[in-house]
């Protein structure tokens, strides 16, 4: 148990560093967007823009999309940097795989909390630059939903997405370019079956756009369990590569 605690301590430290860098960058990006919007006048907007009868924008919501990309980097770094270091320093693969789940939970919870608060503050910031705030994000409405619901939704979605990237990163680390060959092959085969293509696309979009109710929650939890389970099994059977 002592050793499991040590790897969790290491992963926690790594999460803190990684998160600090990300949120500092996002703070600067948001500040930049704020200044651009303030100076650009009423006809030009920067950020997430929804055009319609009235153009609405979100400035702090930009970090939500950046988060989804950040989770790819975060999970790849976990496998390509933290995994070889941990195994080289006498950590078991099982402990590492467990600590990865813990790390994913910490990142999803912290980011969900920060992003939730930011999205509640977003309309105030947008009004300060004399523009119309965007409320409807598909998965929630920042005007009508309370902050707890926002944070919970963000946590669930971020952890699900992180789990899927974790699986991809662990498979990629173990199988290298062969994984992409398999993916290309599957893509080629599936191109003959139109419903497959459409199905995969709809499935991915649904994760990020569907409001969480009981059924959607069950779907996301299932995806998370399957992804984490497969990533765990893959990681405990992976040897480290010479260099990364």
């Amino acid at each position: 148990m002592e050793n499991t605690k040590r790897i969790i301590k290491y992963q926690y430290k790594e999460s803190k560093i990684s998160m600090s860098k990300f949120w500092l960058t996002m703070f600067l990006v948001s500040l930049f967007l704020y200044i651009i919007n303030k100076r650009s006048g009423p006809n030009v907007s920067s950020g997430i823009i929804v055009s319609g009868d009235i153009t609405s924008i979100s400035i702090l919501g930009v970090s939500l999309f950046a988060l989804l990309i950040y989770l790819i980097i975060f999970n790849y770094e976990n496998l390509y940097k933290n995994f070889p270091m941990a195994i080289s320093f006498s950590v078991t693969r099982k402990d590492f795989a467990l600590s990865t789940i813990f790390k994913g939970l910490v990142i999803a919870a912290t980011s969900g909390l920060i992003q939730g608060v930011l999205l509640k503050l977003d309309p105030i910031i947008v009004r300060l630059v004399d523009k119309t705030p965007m409320y409807d994000f598909g998965i929630f409405n920042t005007n009508t939903d309370n902050i707890i619901y926002l944070i919970f939704t963000l946590f669930i979605i971020l952890f699900t997405v992180s789990s899927m990237w974790n699986l991809l990163a662990s498979l990629n680390y173990r199988f290298g370019y062969k994984l992409w060959i398999v993916f290309l092959g599957l893509y080629f085969i599936s191109s003959f079956i139109r419903s497959w293509h459409a199905g995969i696309w709809t499935f991915s979009i649904n994760i990020l756009t569907t409001r969480i109710d009981g059924v959607q929650l069950l779907k996301l939890v299932l995806i998370t369990i399957i992804s984490q389970g497969l990533a765990y099994l893959n990681t405990i059977n992976t040897n480290i590569k010479r260099k990364a």
């Binding site: 430290k13 070889p84 941990a86 080289s88 320093f89 006498s90 402990d95 040897n239 260099k243």
Partner: protein
């Protein structure tokens, strides 16, 4: 004690190690020797949980090592190929080691960094080969792990740094006894550090013996060939060099005092064989284990 019982390792259909049976006792310094490709690194990586044995059992205090957190917390392996990550600052490497090794000695790490004049702010991949090796040595020494394994710890090091490293190992081992396994090709330099040597040959443990006892069985005999042959057991000759009527014979056999006196009386010069030479003769020689 680390114990290997009937351990085998193959890569695909190619066997690397077969039927390895070995015991590594507490608080001893072992030298692991063997020709290139004989499986030294593979053996050390199996002990250090880096790779899994194809079959057999490796245990520490009767607990299986593979994927066992408890057992692994007592093992530190410093690999020749590094830690699998190169684009990383030394500071981060040491901080990580400090978190993950339970007996990590931060003060000793600082002392070693000063001793070897390393800059912790530098990235690992910006260091010379020798300095990269030093980083591994510092991790190994400061880990204070009960079993510390160094795979080729002298790669890229200049003579002064190698000498300092060997001294540090002995100094530290006196204060903090532990088991140290060193795999190296520069055998003569480390002979005084080793307490026991393990020689791998033909996928197996060929010899595992205390250095002192091994050296007692290894002699050069210099003189007339017929005279030497009349006294010694021919089957124990592991090397022979002829210069006219004189021959230098490397003998791997115990000689009692009577025989030594007899040989000296017949103008045969007797001298010890350095460990490196002995290793070369044994690993290239036809001498079978049964003959020993």
């Amino acid at each position: 004690m680390i114990k290997l019982v009937d351990v085998n390792k193959s890569y695909g259909k190619t066997p690397v190690l077969s039927q390895i049976n070995l015991k590594l006792e507490d608080n001893k310094i072992y030298g692991l020797l063997g020709r290139n490709g004989v499986g030294k690194t593979t053996l050390l990586n199996m002990i250090g949980n880096q790779i899994k044995a194809s079959s057999g059992h490796i245990s520490l205090d009767d607990q299986g090592i593979f994927e066992n957190s408890q057992a692994l917390s007592d093992i530190c392996i410093v690999k020749e190929e590094g830690i699998g990550v190169e684009d990383i600052k030394l500071k981060e490497i040491f901080e990580t080691a400090g978190i993950l090794y339970k007996n990590w000695d931060e003060d000793y790490k600082d002392l070693l960094i000063n001793e070897f004049n390393l800059d912790s702010k530098k990235k690992f991949n910006k260091l010379s080969r020798g300095n990269q090796t030093l980083v591994g040595l510092i991790v190994g020494l400061a880990s204070r792990a009960r079993y510390t394994i160094f795979d080729e710890p002298s790669l890229g090091l200049d003579a002064a740094h190698r000498d300092r490293f060997y001294s540090l190992i002995l100094e530290d081992w006196e204060k903090n006894p532990r088991t140290i396994v060193i795999s190296t090709h520069l055998i003569d330099e480390v002979t005084s550090v080793f307490e026991e040597v393990i020689i791998l040959k033909d996928e197996k443990v060929f010899i595992k013996e205390e250095v002192a006892s091994l050296m007692k069985r290894a002699y050069y005999l210099n003189g007339n060939q017929d005279t030497i042959i009349s006294v010694i057991d021919r089957d124990k000759i592991i090397h022979r060099e002829k210069f006219g009527n004189t021959v230098i014979i490397a003998l791997f056999d115990e000689l009692d005092n009577g025989t030594k006196e007899d040989l000296r009386g017949k103008n045969i010069e007797i001298s010890p064989i350095p460990l490196q030479k002995l290793f070369i003769y044994l690993t290239e020689n036809h001498l079978s284990k049964e003959a020993m």
